[in-house]
């Protein structure tokens, strides 16, 4: 049910999002207190506009508030965004 709603709003995990265009963060799935909390601390929180700069075969390079970050694929699966 939830996934169908997501599909209707065109919400998708960052890993599947298109490159180069502005994306709005909708949700960050932080499991436990592990390093994925860092994602929040660098400003990847609901409402933030981010952009995928490049997708390498490994990590994904994103621009968040004017800074570049490389994040692993596992992280990128937990960040949900919508195209704006």
């Amino acid at each position: 049910m939830a996934s169908r709603e997501n599909a209707m709003k065109r919400i998708l995990p960052l890993i599947a999002a298109p490159q180069g265009i502005p994306l709005r963060v909708v949700n960050v799935d932080i499991r436990g207190r592990g390093p994925s909390r860092r994602l929040l601390e660098i400003g990847i929180i609901p409402g933030t506009i981010i952009r995928i700069v490049t997708k390498t075969t490994g990590p994904i390079i994103i621009e968040v508030r004017g800074s570049l970050f490389a994040i692993g694929k596992g992280h990128a699966r937990r960040i949900y965004v919508e195209v704006i």
Binding site: R38, V53, A70
Partner: protein, 698 residues
């Protein structure tokens, strides 16, 4: 008015990595500084001082950190220092180029203490990029002084010191930042109330309440011991918040901070559009390209190692000139390499001291001990010093320029296979130069288990000293350069194979459900590193290591010297009478297992324990030849024996400095013994297998 009565004030520097914090520290304190360790931690503690208007300003350089969330050792040190040591002023270094990003840490500090000054660093670089920050307005919003500076070009430093004194003296009134946490406020008050019934904490109560809501492991640990009921209540409140507000408390609190940052940025920051893509963007087109990136990274790393090796020993640059037929140039390069020059220096020094001591009519044994034991021991410490220094210098340059972060991104795919995140590529590559900076370099890894795994694996990477032993052996036994190269490649490949194999073994045995940490790394804009800053850092780090490990290394060198030159009958005449030779003879049965049952070879393995360079020297000593190639040839090794020897040499126990570094980083004798044991065992196993296979086929 604290300052009228105080002649000394304490100032703490806080900032994220890459913000230019150590550059500011060095430029403020000059050479009046001192490196130590935080008690019980592996993080370095830098302390320095300066004087201004007759007041002594003691500066503590707190470890670089992105937040105060208590996720890492660095974060805990930083916040504990601010809370418990009450520095007179905290200087928060904010990066003008990455303004919003670095405001996050600044807000967290301002929520903790009012005695702060913001140093807005890299102001010159920001202007060039068309970023203008209205700093007086920022000052008004945050209620603390904001000083635009360039730590690198020493701009604004005088002004910064003046403002530090203003805050310390109370001439400028500053305020703790109190953010409005909206929906969370009610719950924060409830927790504050709960905490008021506990034993008083060392932390400001509101701050502690917010942190506990966000799930702060460090504070929870404290409460667990002092006020368990409170902890249960707080956990319940966090659950309620999730249900009622529809999001986890930490997500809400971090959002509040970022909303505030967004509003600040709107008020103080103006960005002019720079028409052409910046230099950084252009370079990233290459480095982050999935085809060009790996090629570029690989080229840079190989080139870096080539330069380090050549300056240190002349190799492999000398081979190039030999190939061209310019033997004289090749010899000149070898003699004038750092280790060549040091070698000459120490042999001259030994002679001078020997002549001097002989004139004093000291007994011969004492003269020998001083010249051959102590001086040579110090020589052996200083002999690897240039390599450590060079490795730090070269990789410091890569890090400072921003290249290393890109290489970590590309390396992530490779290191993930051995259970490490991309950041580990850096210490692992350092290992090809020297294992010591490699092990110290694993500090950049975030998780304890990842650090331990990297530390256990790093010594398997053949360092330059091991390459040297390989070269000496292949040169002695194989005339064909192609065969020489092939054998060296086989040894390297075996090491890589073992690295992969042992990594999965350790992960299965030592760690339960371990996953390599996900990469999360900032890619700072590229910039040209400053040689002055690089030299500082390289010098600091390498001398710090020498001070800590030097005594162990020197002591063991003297013991080895004693074992090599003394026997049951006192000072020896021939090498086979020494304690080391006797031990070597005892080890012959072990050597037989791997086809190397010769006491001279066992002796060389003993010497290699101190430093792998010493292996050849000990063979020269034991065989009585004065040329190392002839000495090695006189061992008359067969092909299976040579392979077995080189493999064991490359795998078995790393040298003493590496063990010292490992012990300092892991702080566990248990793991240090594990390192020693597994390497010895694997070396014997691999040596034995290879010897028997090759003997069977040849």
């Amino acid at each position: 008015m604290r300052y009228s009565t105080k002649k000394e004030i304490v100032v703490a520097l806080v900032g994220s990595p890459n913000v230019g914090k150590s550059t500011l520290f060095n430029n403020l304190t000059g050479h009046r500084q001192h490196v130590g360790n935080w008690p019980g931690k592996t993080v370095d503690r830098y302390e320095g001082s300066l004087e201004h208007h007759g007041i002594k300003i003691k500066i503590i350089d707190l470890p670089g950190t992105y937040s105060l969330g208590a996720l890492s050792e660095e974060e805990i040190i930083t916040r504990e220092f601010i809370i418990k040591e009450h520095p007179d002023v905290v200087v928060i270094i904010v990066n003008a180029v990455e303004f919003s990003q670095s405001l996050y840490l600044a807000l967290q500090i301002l929520e903790l203490t009012p005695n702060a000054v913001i140093a807005l660093n890299k102001i010159d670089a920001a202007e060039k990029r068309g970023i203008h920050i209205h700093y007086t307005r920022l000052q008004k919003i945050l209620q603390v002084p904001v000083v635009p500076i360039s730590a690198l070009h020493r701009i604004g430093l005088h002004n910064l010191v003046e403002r530090i004194l203003d805050v310390a003296s109370g001439r400028i009134r500053t305020k703790t930042l109190s953010l409005d946490y909206n929906g969370l406020e009610h719950y924060i008050k409830v927790i504050e109330n709960i905490l008021s019934k506990c034993e008083p904490l060392d932390y400001p109560r509101r701050w502690a309440a917010i942190r506990l809501l966000e799930g702060d492991r460090h504070l929870e640990e404290i409460l667990k011991n002092s006020c368990k009921e409170a902890l249960c209540a707080i956990n319940e409140i966090a659950q309620i918040i999730k249900q009622e507000l529809g999001a986890s408390p930490e997500l809400l609190s971090i959002s509040v901070r970022y909303d505030y940052i967004t509003s600040i940025v709107k008020q103080v920051l103006i960005t002019e559009k720079v028409a052409s893509p910046t230099f950084s963007e252009k370079l990233d087109k290459i480095f982050l390209n999935s085809l060009l990136g790996p090629i570029a990274s690989f080229t840079i790393l190989v080139l870096t190692l080539f330069i380090i090796f050549s300056i240190n020993t002349g190799f492999p640059l000398n081979l190039f000139f030999q190939y061209l037929g310019l033997e004289e140039v090749a010899t000149w390069i070898e003699e004038n390499s750092l280790s060549g020059l040091l070698g000459t220096l120490f042999s001259i020094l030994g002679d001078v001291i020997r002549t001097f001591l002989t004139k004093l009519n000291l007994p011969l044994q004492i003269i020998d001990m001083i010249t051959d034991g102590v001086i040579a021991g110090i020589g052996s410490i200083l002999g690897f010093y240039p390599l450590i220094l060079m490795v730090y210098l070269a990789f410091g340059a890569l890090e400072d320029s921003g290249l290393l972060a890109r290489i970590a991104v590309i390396g992530d795919r490779i290191t993930r296979k051995i259970g490490l995140s991309g950041k580990a590529i850096i210490p692992l590559i350092l290992g090809f130069g020297c294992n010591v900076p490699s092990i110290i370099g694993t500090r950049i890894l975030e998780e304890d288990r990842e650090k331990l795994l990297a530390n256990l694996l790093a010594p398997l990477i053949p360092c330059q000293a091991r390459l040297f032993v390989m070269i000496a052996f292949v040169t002695a036994f194989f005339p064909n350069p192609l065969h020489q190269a092939l054998i060296i490649i086989v040894v390297y490949l075996t090491s890589f194979f073992l690295l992969i194999l042992l990594s999965s073994l350790f992960r299965k045995i030592l760690f339960k459900d371990y996953m390599p940490p996900e990469l999360l790394i900032e890619l700072p804009p590229y910039h040209r590193p400053s040689l002055r800053v690089l030299l500082w850092h390289a010098w600091d780090k390498s001398s710090h290591f020498l001070r800590k490990a030097g005594t162990i290394i020197l002591a063991l060198s003297i013991i080895t010297w004693f074992l090599l030159y003394y026997g049951p009958s006192g000072e020896i005449i021939h090498a086979n009478e020494s304690f080391a030779a006797i031990l070597g003879n005892l080890l012959v049965p072990l050597g037989n297992l791997v086809g190397l049952g010769d006491w001279k070879i066992m002796l060389s393995f003993e010497a290699g324990f101190i430093a792998k360079e010493g292996m050849i020297e000990s063979i020269v000593l034991a065989t009585g030849y004065d040329n190392s190639i002839q000495a090695i040839r006189s061992l008359e090794l067969t092909f299976p024996q040579i392979i077995s020897y080189l493999l064991i040499m490359s795998i078995y126990t790393p040298c003493i400095p590496t063990i010292a570094a490992f012990y300092q980083e892991s702080r566990k004798a248990k793991y240090t013994l594990l390192l020693l044991a597994y390497e010895l065992l694997v070396a014997l196993l691999v040596g034995s297998i290879s010897y028997h296979i090759f003997s069977f086929f040849l």
